[in-house]
Every structure is written in C-alpha cells, then in structure tokens.
Symmetry: none
Subunit: 194 residues, 4 copies
DNA sequence: TATGAATGAGTCTTCATTCAT
DNA sequence: AATGAATGAAGACTCATTCAT
C-alpha cells in the first residue's frame, strides 16, 4: 500500500492515523470500526481504504510509527553519555516522558501485545529495546557498578517497572511526572532497600 | 444468572470456563466467538446461554475466578509470616508460581486491562492487590528495612517487575522458574546495584 | 460445510438452492446478492450462511447437483441399449429433455464456464460427459457405422450442436421439443447432406 | 460518448479496449474493476472516463468491435464464391481462424451472452450471423445440395459446432487449427456418417 | 487530457443472542 | 438441559463514478 502522496494526501493519512490512535485507545481496537474512524473525520469510507489496505494495517502503522518515535526520543536523551548507569536512567526518563506526551499509545501497545496478529510486530520492537538495555547493563556489570546477574532478566525487570509506573501515572494522572520518574529510577538502581 | 446447578451442571460450567479461557488466551477475546467455544466442547449453542448470560459474563467470571484463586495462593504462601520483607518475597514467588501453572490467564488479564468493558473489574482486582502490597511496604518502612518512599508507587513498581518477568518467562518458556523468581526478588529488594 | 440437517433443515437448504438457481439464471451470478436470495425467501441473512459457507459454495452445489441429475437422466435414457449410434441419439434427446425441464440451469452453467472460479468444476463435468460420448463413438467407428475421425473432436461437435439448439429452443421457446430433437439427431448423424 | 479524438486519443482508447479485453477474458467482467484496467495501463482513473461513459460501455464497444471485425473477416473469406456449400465452409473456416487470432474475445462473448445487460447486443449480433447462414442454406436447399430441413435450426446447429470446437481448440490449445477446421466442416456437411 | 482524491451505496460475511422443539 | 435453526444488526471492504486541480 505504498502510494505516492501529494502533500494533501500525506495530511489526510496523518489525520487518519491520529484519529485511529485516539479511538483505538479510547474504545479498543476491535470495538472501533473503520466507520467510526472516518466518521470522526467527517469523510467517506473509501478515504480510509485509499490510504490503508485494511484496519489491521492502520494499527500496524501506528505501532511502527510510535516505536520509531519513542526510540528517537530515547536516543536523543541518551546522546553521548558514557556512564552506563546514567544511560539507563536517561532511557527510563525518556520513556516516561514520551508516554506522558503520547498517552494514546500506551493502551494501543498493550492491546497489540495480546493479539496474535500484532504480537509479532511488538515482539520485535521489544526485542530491540531490550537489546539496548542489555548493552548498558553489561557495560555496568563490567564496570562493577551493576551486580553480575542475568542481564536479560534485569532488562525485563526494568522494562516492567517502567511500563507499570507509566500506566499508573497515566491512569491516575495526577502525579508529577518527575516524582514518578525519580522513584522509578531509584527503585531500579537501588530496589526497596534504598 | 445465579442458578442452582446440579453436580453435572457445575461440571459443564467449568468445562465452558476452561474452554473459554484457553480460546481467549490463544486467539483473543473478540476473535473468539461463542460458537467457537461451544464447538470446541462439541455441544450446542444453547448450552452456553444456559450457564452464562453473555459472552461478556464468561470473561468476567474468568477474571473473578482467576483473581480469587491467585489471591488464595498468595495468602497461603504468606501464611503467618511476620517479617514484611519476607511477606513481599513470598507474595512475589506465589504470583510467579501461580501464573506458571495458569498460563492462559496472563494473556486474558492483559487483554481485559485494555478493554473499557473489563478494565473496571481488573482495576478493582489490582487495587486490592496493591493495597496488600502497600501494607507490607508500610510495615517495612516502619521497621526501617525499606526506604521511606511513596509506598503506592513502590507497590506498582514491584507489580510491574513481577508482571513483565512473568510474561517473559511464560513466552520464552525455557527458564527455570526458581531462577526467575530469585532474580525478581533480588531486583525488587536490592535493585541493580545488588 | 457438511452439517447434520433435520428434515426441516434439508427443506430450507433446498429452498435456498432453488431460489438461488432462479435468481442466478434471471439476473446472473454477480448481480444477484445473497441479500436478494434470502429476501426472496423471506428469511434472515444468517440463514444463508447456516447452510452454505459462501455465495460461491451455493453456485458450486448448484453445479454439482444439476450435473448429477442430468447424468442420471442420460443414463436412464440410454439404459441397456446396445447400438452405439442409438445410444448417442438417446443421450442427445435426454439432454434436450432435461434442459427443457430445468431451464434455469442452462444460463447458470454457461456463466460458470466463463468464470475462473467455477470453470474447473465445469471442466470436469464436461470431461466426463465427453468421455461418455467418445466411448459410444469409438464403438460406432469399430462397427463401421461412424466415419473414422478423431472421436474427441466429434464428441465436442455433437455437444456443440446440442448446446446451441438447447439454448435456441429455450430462448425462442416456441418450438416443439421433439422437432428440435429430431433435427439435432439428424444433423449429428447425417450432417447437412441428409 | 462520441468524441472527436486526436490520433493520440484514438491510440489511448485502443489501449484501453485491448487492456479491458485481456482482463475481462482472464478474470471475467464483474471481477475486473475499472481500477484494474487503468492500473494495468499505468494511467489515472480519469482517463478511463474520458474515453468511455462507463465500464458497461467498454464491454459493449468491445462486443461491437469484435463482431464487426469477425464479420469483415468472414466476408473477405467468402468473397465472390458462388457455391453456397462452399460459402458455408469458408465462413466456418474464417470464424475458427479469427477466434484463433483473438482468443480473448471468446470468453468475453460467452460471458456477455449470460448477462441480461449485454445479452441483447449479442442477440442482435447472433441474429445477423444466423441470417447470413440461413441465406446460404436456402441456396443450398434450392440447389438440392442440402437436405430440406428447417434452415434456422440448421444454422444454429452449425454455429453450435463452430462455437464448441472453437472453445475446445482454444482451451486445449494444442491441436493444429486446420485439422479442427477440416473436421468441423466435414461434420457439418456429412454428420457422423461421413 | 490527466491525476490523485473522494464518495457512499452496496457486497459478503460474522456473530451475539433468541427461540421452538 | 440441550439442540438446530433463525435473526438482523453490524462490520470490513469494494468499486463505479465524480471532482478539484
């Protein structure tokens, strides 16, 4: 479904993605119909299929785009930082920050993870993110700053904390982001013991 | 839809729940039809509606039953243990153990969390579990064994680690459960620093 | 889509086939919607899919059933007749007779032959019919009653005459069947020369 | 939709007809969309509607053009030949030859005959062709060369043979055209008896 | 002339649910 | 308790056609 798009076309496509993201997040993927999406935009049904081959493709594109954007944010945040522990911290803060600004995507990603159609896409995204984290962890272990435990499991543990605190702060919605981020980082680095 | 059931009736109901759990886990809730569930059991469609008012109710019952069972397991594991840190550890190990034995439920619960229809049920379940954890955390903070940070956030952090390591070990499927549990506990108690 | 049908179910299925045959013949396969078929029967749309997996399957079943019926008629007509030329004649007359009584099927079969989805089914049917004819022709050639020419081509020639005269007499509709059959037989046996 | 076309315009129109003929023949009229036709040519959708008022019109034009061309071929073949039997033979051979060179049209014509929208156009074409044949047959009957049977039915019989042998040789595709034509002529003139 | 974009009625199909038996 | 049958609203997707540029 690669199509040469005029600027106007590109704009439409973006509108559809935005609209789809919002509705999928609010009501869920299955309960949202293509008709809902185009109606929310006030355009005909055909428009949707001019830009996307299927409803499925819309979600896939959403997943790809969000992953791409999140990773960009993380990389910018980490920059040239050399200290591996600090890199991990910056990555955590970048993730929390990104989701705070793109609330829709949390629900979408979480749903996608439960659906056999989309799980593979997400699995790949996660793999890449985990691999990044593992690299930093290994550096930290070599440095002696991080305890010598299975880096893969540690990476998942960190991601779990980030995911749940993200979810919690998005849903409760009234906690200062920095506070959550601080605790998230502290917990990951020091655990409950502090 | 409370109905007095004969022993045979109770058995049927259990079969339906088991069957539904399996299919919902494998294919997802929406993509699984009531027809699929009864077909997998080789019975007519009427049977389903004899025991459940709707497809929705089946999932709700599944959610309730699994939550009930998981909590029972946790309580048995914790028993009369007095040390709050140890209570947390036992709770974590109980959760990991339970999910290892009820793999279907992880996917179901995760999906339910993303659907506005079921999210409330899950939210309540989670609240209760978090409240339990918070209680132990507060005890630990009073004891001075646990750093004095926001207990609610800490509780969520722990749950996040447990959830993601559960998911990881279920999906990867080839790690010894004890090893995962050990790391999970260690990470929660000491963080990366060890 | 094999399903155990109650007598009532079998009846419904037959009604759907009859109805479909009529509408496909009148308006064509593509221009006839499943909605048209069920509306003509005054039943809900779901009924159709209870008995047939798809619109396509309905046509396929129609094709199979008609072929089966036509062949039965031909075999009954030919019976134990020993003379191969006479067998051909009886076959021709049976075909013309059958189509006169099942006018809907001519149009359906002719359409199906032009559609890549159904052509294979029809090709097989035709093959079988041609093979029958070829057998009689070869017998006739051995007897010296039929000129020694390529029996496959001869068989097709005969089928062509039968098909077109069938069509003509169905459409014109006012010619006595026997007269058409007589000429058909005479033409096939003696050609224009007589 | 008569439009004065520049040479370039005429060329485009021809390309569209050729393309349409090919696709209609391969996939069928209904399953082929206007989008398919223009995509195969690599042009925009507007082009199609510049040259044809509708998809329907394209098929109608195709039918007209092919009929015109076939008739021209037949007339050239028959030329000034005086012998009516020979005229029939030449007509048969011309038809077989033309279809061998315009394979696409056989499927198209056969489909059109089954669709109530196009059947009338085809009926007229057929009428004209049959009338031609009838004229030759009557001449032959007067000459005593042809048996005195209903000329209309005889004409249809001949057309049936030609149609089916055409189809057969196009589909089987591996028989020498002359051989088929010889048998076709022989069968029509002498029947099975030879 | 030509294009990308848009329309929206219409198509096939699914499915939760109900009902007669 | 159970079954086969029926319902019909709703969903994903198609496509002939039109239009602004």
């Amino acid at each position: 479904m690669r199509r040469k798009l005029t600027p106007r076309g590109r704009e439409r496509r973006d509108q559809l993605m935005e609209c789809g993201a919002r509705l999928f997040a609010e009501r869920g993927y299955h309960p949202t119909s293509v008709a809902d999406v185009v109606a929310a935009l006030g355009v005909g049904k055909g428009v949707f299929y001019w830009y996307f081959a299927s409803k499925e493709e819309l979600l896939t594109e959403l997943l790809k785009a969000s992953n791409h954007d999140l990773r960009k944010r993380q990389q910018q945040a980490i920059g040239e930082e050399a200290d591996p522990v600090r890199r991990i911290e910056l990555g955590i803060r970048a993730s929390l920050g990104w989701f705070a600004e793109h609330r829709e995507y949390f629900a979408i990603i979480q749903f996608a993870a439960t659906d056999e159609t989309f799980a593979p896409v997400l699995a790949r995204n996660r793999e890449i993110a985990i691999a990044d984290t593992i690299r930093h962890l290994k550096d930290g272990i070599v440095d002696g700053r991080i305890a010598d435990r299975d880096p893969a499991l540690l990476a998942h543990a960190i991601h779990g904390v980030v995911a749940e605190l993200t979810r919690h702060s998005l849903v409760e919605g009234n906690l200062p982001l920095d506070e959550v981020a601080d605790l998230c980082v502290a917990f990951c680095l020091e655990g409950l013991a502090g």
